[in-house]
Structures are given as structure tokens and as C-alpha cells.
């Protein structure tokens, strides 16, 4: 059998990074055919569910091209933006990769292009799955041209390119402006900011464009549309396959200009900074020493009540300190946990703001707080499930080598860290914000159902001893399915807040609180007993 000639470098790199993305970067498997295909199979599952979710576009049958496209691009922007923001840290800046590739005859620009190519390709798979139904619906929209599917496919590809290039530009600007020493912290902040901006933009655009009755317009009160990426790409669709009004052409031009500029900056102007960024990862000497004040604060917290009472068990205390330290210091963990949690805060924030600012007109005061409380109760559990992953997962063999009957104390330490550093501050901040905006603290009782559920929900990931911190390879937490987890959480939060509102409407609120408290105590005791009896699973 004759083998092919040498592939050009960029093609080799693209194939490499796609394989690594689909298989994950680490493996404890033994054979190729039993390789950790979890990422690839998860991706297929995710694509199927995105395809089903895309069916919601059927609600737009008969509406205008702009109305449909705003919805499709808004949601696509959220999915792609979340995926790119959460995956790019690991794909673009992988520490081990420096030792493998940086001494090979490969330019930083070629590496960057190959990696971005993979991000764009997977983004397009996600976007394609979600938009499949919308493409058909669009062809039957009011005033749509028959070539709408083609135009929408092009605008979706542009959107994927824009999202990816934007993230690359933000990283490169961080490198250029903030220097190598602060790169980790700044990149994490940038990633969280992008994730929040993407979700807000994607969620808010369809709501904000409702008053325009499905048509873009050059109106003084609609100037903000020019700032929203989903509106640009919806304008592109409307200009070429819809009404073709002047406002659509302007939005389309803004989208093309923004995408072109982001690509030019990412690959033309700033690409050489990427090489410097990769080198930074290999420079152990450049890592800043831990600030002693921060360390003292953490150890001081553990030594003082109430943590001293909760963390009497030395293994639980050690696990708590480990989790807290990684939440504060480890780039990989920070890039995984905070960007994943940040978008969960957007909806509670929107509801709380609505509650606080429309207090006179709303018929359900406290609706937002009830929703926010239920939503935030899920945050520690979600955070805890993400704390299981780390690039240094093999170091967790230490736990199995230690004389511990099971993983329970380790799970409890991580759970307490997640409750204290992820759940509690968010509830306090949101309650404080509501109090400041409304001045009436009586509605804060609507946070109670969520607050009571919070410690119970945080025990669920510990079942079976499955919340041992940093014990699984980072790839198994691939970001493509994160949008779906968020969707499921949203549904659960809505169910709980619906229950709260119904109880309030029938005057059973305090009965509900009492019943929930008792149920929470009983379930918590049962869960703790189950977790305590968990034993180490077989190490494959």
C-alpha cells in the first residue's frame, strides 16, 4: 500500500487539533478502538439535542425574515460564544503542547490558524445543528426570498468567524497590554467577560427587538441595534433575502466590517503575540509567587469559626483548602469554572433588576427573587461538578494511595469550598443588589426556598463519591454540552420558582418553607449517609 506524500504543515496541524479535540488530550485507555471517545460521542449527542432545540424556530412560521433571523442569530451567538469562550483557553494555550511543538519548524501563526480552524469547524457543526429547522422555516417567512437558506448559512458562518476571532483578539490584547506575569488572571477575567457579554447579548436581542415588530428601522430609539452582533447578522439575512430596507443593509455592513476587522486583528496584526503567549506557558520562572496575604487569609478562614467547626476532619479540611486554592490560583480550573458559572447569573440578574425597577407595575413582586434564588441554588452543585476536572488529574492518585476508606471526606471538602466561594457570595450579592435598588427588604424572603435547597443540591454530585476534586481529565468536561446543562438548570429553577409563586398566591408560602425545610433535612441526612458509604471505584 503506498502512503501519501508529506501533508502541508497546516493541514497536519488542523488534523492533529481536531483529533485532540474529539478524543480529548489525555487518556488512560489502552487501545485506539477503546479510546476516550467521550468528547466525540458527547458532541454527537449535543448536536442532536441542538437540532431538536432548533425546532423552536417553527414558532416563527409566517413571521418576518428579520424576526426569525434575530432569534436564530441570538441563540446561535449564545451557543457559539459560550463554546468558543470556554474551549479556547484549553485549545489555544495548552501548557504541555509547548514541549511537543514549539521546537518543531512550525510558526505561531500556523499553530493559531490551525487551532482557530478547529474552533470554527466545531462552532459551525453546532450552529448547523441548531439552524437546520430555521433554514427551512426561513424559506416560508413573510417576504423571504427562496435563497434565504443560503444567505442564512453564510451569515451563520460569518457569525462563527466573528465569535472566534473576537476571542482570539481579546486574548492577544491581554498578552500585549497586561504582560506575561498577569496573563493568567487577565485571560480568565477576559473569558468570563466574553461569556457574560455573549449570553446577555444573545438573550436580550430578541426581547429588545420586539417593539420593532419584526422590522429593522433607522430610528433614534433603536440606535442600540447597531451595537449588537446578532442584530448585524440578522440584518445581513434581511438585506439579502428579506425586506432589504436601508437599516438592514447598514446592519449587514456593520457585521461584515466587524468580522473583517476582528479577523484582520487576530491573524494579521496580533498573531505574533500568540507565539509570545505560548512561550509564556513554558516559562516556569515567570509565574508570580503566591501572595502571602491571600494564603494567610485562606488559612485564617479555616482556623476561625464557623469553618473550624465544619472542617474538623483533617481530610475534609485539606480537600477544602485544595479546592479553594485551585479556585483562586489555577488557570485551567478558573477558565473552566468561572466562565461556566457566569452565564448562570445573567438570568437571575435580569429578573432581579426587573423586580426591583418595576415594583409598582408588576403583579408578582418577588417573582424575580424567587427565580433568582432557585437558579443560584444550582450554582454550587454545578461548580462542584466542574471542580472534578483538572489537567493535573493524575495527581489525584494520591487520594487513593492515602489510608482513606472512601472518597466522602474529599467530596465534602470540595462541596464546602463550592458552597462558600461560589454559592454564598452570589446569593448575598444578589440580595444586596435587590435591597439597594428597591429599598424594601421584605421580599428577600423569596430567596429562602433557593437557600434551603442549596446545601441539599450541592450533595447530589457527591453521590457515589463522584465529587473528588481534580480527579478527572479536563477534556471530559468539554464545553460543547455546557449550554444544554444550563438549559436543564433553567427548567429546574423555573419549576421551583413556579412552586414558590403558586404557594404565595394561595397563601401557603410559609407552609412551603416549613415543608421544604423538613424535606431538605431528611434528604440531606439520607444523601450524607449515602455519600459516607461510598467506596473508591475501580481505577481503569
Amino acid at each position: 500500500m503506498s502512503r501519501p506524500p508529506a501533508a502541508p504543515t497546516e493541514r497536519t496541524l488542523r488534523r492533529l487539533f481536531l483529533t485532540l479535540f474529539l478524543r480529548g488530550r489525555t487518556s488512560r485507555g489502552t487501545r485506539k478502538d477503546s479510546a476516550p471517545s467521550s468528547v466525540g460521542s458527547k458532541l454527537l449527542g449535543t448536536l442532536a439535542i441542538y437540532g431538536l432545540m432548533g425546532g423552536l424556530a417553527l414558532m416563527f412560521v409566517g413571521q418576518t425574515v428579520f424576526a426569525l433571523s434575530v432569534y436564530l442569530h441570538g441563540m446561535t451567538f449564545v451557543f457559539i460564544g459560550m463554546f468558543v469562550a470556554a474551549s479556547s483557553g484549553e485549545v489555544l494555550f495548552n501548557k504541555e503542547e509547548a514541549d511537543i511543538l514549539l521546537h518543531r519548524p512550525v510558526t505561531p501563526r500556523a499553530l493559531l490558524r490551525a487551532k482557530v480552524g478547529v474552533l470554527v469547524r466545531v462552532s459551525l457543526w453546532l450552529a448547523g445543528a441548531f439552524n437546520a429547522v430555521g433554514l427551512v422555516v426561513g424559506a416560508f417567512s413573510a417576504g423571504a426570498a427562496v435563497w434565504y437558506p443560503l444567505v442564512h448559512a453564510v451569515s451563520t458562518a460569518l457569525e462563527a468567524l466573528f465569535c472566534t476571532a473576537l476571542v482570539v483578539v481579546v486574548y492577544q490584547l491581554c498578552l500585549r497590554w497586561f504582560g506575561r506575569e498577569r496573563l493568567d488572571g487577565v485571560m480568565t477575567t477576559a473569558q468570563v467577560t466574553i461569556a457574560v457579554a455573549v449570553v446577555l447579548s444573545g438573550q436580550l436581542v430578541p426581547r429588545m427587538t420586539r417593539p420593532l415588530q419584526g422590522r429593522p428601522a433607522l430610528r433614534a430609539d433603536a440606535w442600540w441595534m447597531g451595537l449588537l452582533p446578532p442584530a448585524w447578522f440578522a440584518g445581513f439575512d434581511d438585506a439579502l433575502a428579506g425586506s432589504g430596507v436601508a437599516a438592514s443593509w447598514l446592519l449587514a455592513a456593520a457585521g461584515l466590517a466587524a468580522t473583517g476587522s476582528a479577523l484582520w486583528l487576530a491573524f494579521g496584526v496580533l498573531a505574533r503575540d500568540y507565539g509570545a503567549g505560548l512561550q509564556t506557558l513554558g516559562e516556569s520562572g515567570s509565574l508570580p509567587a503566591e501572595r502571602p496575604g491571600r494564603r494567610r487569609l485562606l488559612h485564617g478562614l479555616v482556623q476561625a469559626p464557623p469553618l473550624r467547626w465544619w472542617l474538623r476532619d483533617p481530610v475534609t479540611r485539606a480537600s477544602f483548602l485544595l479546592s479553594a486554592a485551585y479556585l483562586a490560583r489555577d488557570r485551567d480550573v478558573k477558565l473552566r469554572v468561572y466562565p461556566a458559572i457566569a452565564p448562570l447569573l445573567c438570568m437571575p440578574l435580569v429578573f432581579v433588576l426587573q423586580d426591583a425597577t418595576h415594583r409598582s407595575s408588576t403583579s408578582n413582586p418577588g417573582l424575580g427573587l424567587a427565580f433568582a434564588g432557585s437558579f443560584l441554588a444550582l450554582v454550587p452543585a454545578f461548580g462542584l461538578s466542574l471542580l472534578r476536572y483538572s489537567q493535573q488529574w493524575q495527581a489525584s492518585d494520591l487520594f487513593r494511595a492515602a489510608p482513606l476508606a472512601g472518597p466522602a471526606p474529599l467530596c465534602h471538602g470540595a462541596r464546602l469550598a463550592s458552597l462558600l466561594f461560589l454559592g454564598l457570595p452570589l446569593i448575598v450579592c444578589l440580595g444586596g443588589l435587590f435591597g439597594v435598588l428597591q429599598g424594601d427588604l421584605s421580599h428577600l424572603v423569596f430567596l429562602l426556598p433557593g437557600a434551603i435547597a442549596l446545601p441539599v443540591l450541592a450533595l447530589i454530585p457527591c453521590l457515589g463519591g463522584n465529587a473528588v476534586p481534580f480527579s478527572l481529565p479536563g477534556e471530559e468536561a468539554k464545553a460543547a454540552s455546557r449550554g444544554l446543562s444550563m438549559f436543564g438548570m433553567m427548567m429546574a429553577a423555573m419549576a421551583l420558582s413556579g412552586l414558590v409563586l403558586a404557594a404565595r398566591a394561595y397563601g401557603w408560602f410559609w407552609w412551603l418553607i416549613m415543608a421544604e425545610s423538613m424535606a431538605a433535612l431528611a434528604i440531606r441526612a439520607w444523601l450524607r449517609a449515602r455519600v459516607a458509604t461510598a467506596r473508591w471505584s475501580s481505577m481503569e
Binding site: 492533529l16 485507555g29 485506539k32 504541555e96 514541549d99 521546537h103 512550525v106 512561550q279 520562572g285
Partner: protein, 256 residues
Amino acid sequence: MISLRQLTKSFGAQTAVDGLSFEVAAGQIVGFLGPNGAGKTTTLKMLTGMLEPSSGTATVCGFDLRREPIEIKRRVGLVPESGAVFESLTGLEYLEMVASLYGIPGDAALDRIKQFISFFDLGFGTLTDKLLGAYSKGMRRKVVITAALLHNPPVVFFDEPLDGLDANAAVGFKALIQTLAREGKTIVYSSHILDVVERVCDRVIIIDKGKLLVDGRPDELVAAGGAATLEGLFTQLTGGGEIARRAADFARTFRP
């Protein structure tokens, strides 16, 4: 073949490599030694284009490190201390990927890979079926060494290459690098296993705190330093003279 001129690398206020200058001729095996944190790995990373020097420069195979890093990368091989590989590729996928990066055609790459696996006693089935994540440390090290030599580079840098290799593989590897040097390849060998360095290397360079301490033939350096072995000379030069007494004192703390 390799020429360093005041090569310096600083990380903030910390200077890892401090004005290092030396030359290495073709066909030499140079032992590059120093205690932990002396700047060895940083120097190797600079010479392979992985890190940009803060000041000074170097040439490898006549190419300037700052102006022509890609030309240098084409001509050097590196076995990094970390032994990092892409664990979710099979050994063959990994080596074929590396071959592609150097523009080696598929047929030639496969022939070359077969020569290496035969030398290292690796089964071809292992290479095609097993993911690198499932390889033992020694097998993975053999793949990393193969990946460094696959493109037949005139200059090879080894950073702790024997780490994980069993005794037979280590003996074979030492014979391999001596033969490579006789055929004109330049080899820079960084290791903490000093008796191997003493036996294999024509010349030894010892650095500490980023500065060059001594440079010469191992037997001449040992004689000039009044030491019995290279290990003795090394501890004498790098402040390890008290280590035996400190170890004995420490061991006594384990008494029940």
C-alpha cells in the same frame, strides 16, 4: 555547529541564564550539567527556538537564533525533560504527525519509524493500537526519542533522555548517541546521572545560577579540580560538599 554569545534569559527580576558563551563543534557529545534551577533547560529551550533570549544570541548550524528560528528548528532534535506527548494519539499517529511537520513523505516516514521501533524493541502492533496515554514511561520515552531523531537532525539536544528507560534500552541508547556523534552529529546531553555523562561525553560544561563554571574534557576537569570523579567535582563546584553529612543528620530524625 553551536555558538552562544552572551546568551541571557531573565524572567522578571530573576536571571535564569546569565551571559552564557561557548562553542560546540560538529561530532562532539557535550555533557551540559548543573544543579536544579541552574538554567540548563532554559538554555536548551532557547537553543531550540522555544524561548526568546532576553539578550545575547546564538547560532546553530550557522543560523541565527533571533533571525532564523525556523531554519534552526528544521535542523535540531529535542528530547524534552517532560517527555510530553499527545496522549490521545497512538504512537504511530504521533510519529507520522511529527514526520509531516518536517515534510518527510509518508513512505519514508514509515520506513524510518520501523527502523526505530526495531531498534527500541517496540511492537508495531503496540504503536498502531495503543494510545500514548497507556504507554509505560519507558515506552513513551522511546517514542519521544524517535520523534527527536526522525528527521535526521545534525544537532540533537537531550534533556534527561534516560529517564524511564530500562537498563538494556539505556545501554542501547548510549551506544546510539556515540555512533551518531562519530557520524558527525552534534549532541548536547543534559543529565543528572553523572557517571553516564563521564563515560559518554567528550566534553563537559557545568553551569550554576545561569553562569558557566567549567568547560573541558571530563578527565582533565576531574584532575584539575583534585576530585576522584565527575560527581565529586560537581558537588565541589556547586556547593554540595556538605550533602552527605546533612543527609546523615536528616536520616537520624527518622529514628523511632
